[in-house]
């Protein structure tokens, strides 16, 4: 059934197959480029509006990226009627149980935290994933606090944060990310 192998027909077959698959993939890539971009944009936009008070500008259109602590933080400024209402900071921590955790932390204009949303994480379902706003009230305890007088560390480490049961590592990473956002915001003076 299979043909005899000669150098030329082996090269030719592999070349044709690789070219054909590249062509197909290029086509599919073009097709899915828009939806992928939109899905990512939608995620960021939902996160921003979840963590900030009402605003009427397009924060994602005027984002500033800042290199900080070996990673990238993104600042989104929100205004209403031309007046600044707050800043959302996309922050990260590499110390999650499953590695990288990305959060969107919303600060009011006075520096207090308005809300926090999870952008992406790889924590264990049923345990660390309780950091998601939809899965438990873990993030609620951050709302309205000022990091100046609220220690963003789990109680085990002498802070004020109630950790998720049996997920101290995830909770620590969460705090790490929030603290990073606050530090950067303070230093950036925005």
């Amino acid at each position: 059934m299979a043909k005899e192998s000669t150098f030329s027909n082996m090269t030719l077959t592999l070349l044709v197959i690789t070219l054909l698959s590249s062509a197909v993939l290029g086509f599919v890539y073009e097709l899915t480029k828009e939806p992928i971009r939109k899905a990512q944009e939608a995620k960021i936009n939902t996160a921003i509006s979840n963590v900030l008070p009402e605003f009427d500008n397009q924060p994602s259109a005027e984002a500033t990226e800042v290199q900080y602590d070996g990673g990238t933080l993104v600042f989104y400024n929100a205004t209403k009627g031309g007046e600044k209402v707050g800043t959302a900071v996309k922050t990260f921590s590499n110390n999650g149980f499953g590695g990288l955790i990305e959060l969107m932390v919303g600060f009011n204009a006075d520096g207090t935290i308005h809300g926090i949303d999870v952008v992406s994480h790889k924590e264990t379902p049923g345990l660390g994933d309780k950091m998601e706003t939809s899965k438990s009230g873990f993030s609620v305890q951050f709302q309205g606090v000022n990091p100046e007088d609220f220690k963003i560390r789990v109680k085990k480490d002498g802070g004020d944060v109630d950790a998720i049961t049996a997920s101290t590592i995830s909770s620590r990473a969460y705090c790490d990310a929030v603290q990073r956002a606050y530090n950067a915001l303070k230093e950036g003076g925005k």
Partner: protein, 195 residues
């Protein structure tokens, strides 16, 4: 072999996970919940069915020595298709499954079926074989995912049945080995009773 038994063999008699012990990495790695297991299973089914069809069509044209590399390229192309499609339309599931989607390409089931079945059979039987094996794989992953989710957090597909936290270890890494070990143990026991 009739088309029907060709389709159903993947579910129990030749189930890739429970009987043949193939594709262990995604089986253990993605079954932290029923929905993740099912998503992974269906993505693999797509790759398996499509690559089986294409390979059954082109197998006669390929020189013997480059058979495996050619098959791998075909499979990798379909894996990338499903990877891109999921990133665009199911971003949440895509980020949960993460690395395991590109890794479908090295899932022994896919290359195994291409080599053992599709390269020797026609288009229709190959499609049915791919679908049957894929759905058998999906069945196994969903069952394992549901077991782990139920024991670990008292829920199936996110619906809570038991209040409280459950036996946490089952959603963690060791629980994957335990749950699969016991499921195969039960299957072995049942199979022996039958015969």
């Amino acid at each position: 072999m009739s088309q029907l038994s060709n389709f159903t063999k993947g579910f129990l008699r030749e189930n890739p996970v429970f009987v043949l012990l193939l594709g262990m990495c995604p089986t253990l790695g993605t079954t932290t919940s029923a929905i993740n297991g099912m998503g992974m299973g269906l993505a693999t089914t797509f790759v398996l069915a499509m690559s089986n069809v294409v390979i059954s069509l082109i197998a006669g044209l390929i020189p013997a020595k480059v058979r495996i590399p050619s098959f791998i390229v075909v499979i990798a192309a379909f894996v990338t298709v499903i990877d891109l499609a999921m990133a665009g339309f199911l971003p949440a599931l895509h980020s949960q499954l993460g690395l395991f989607i590109p890794l479908i390409v090295v899932n022994c089931i896919v290359l195994g079926r291409a080599e053992a079945f599709a390269s020797k059979n026609g288009v229709l039987p190959s499609l049915i074989d791919g679908l049957g094996m894929g759905l058998g794989f999906t069945f196994a992953l969903t069952l394992l995912g549901a077991t782990r989710e139920l024991l670990g957090s008292g829920a199936i597909f996110g619906f809570k049945f038991i209040s409280g936290d459950g036996i946490l270890v089952f959603v963690l890494a060791p629980g994957a080995f335990f749950a699969l070990g016991f499921l195969i143990l039960i299957m072995n026991k049942l199979a022996k009773k039958q015969s």
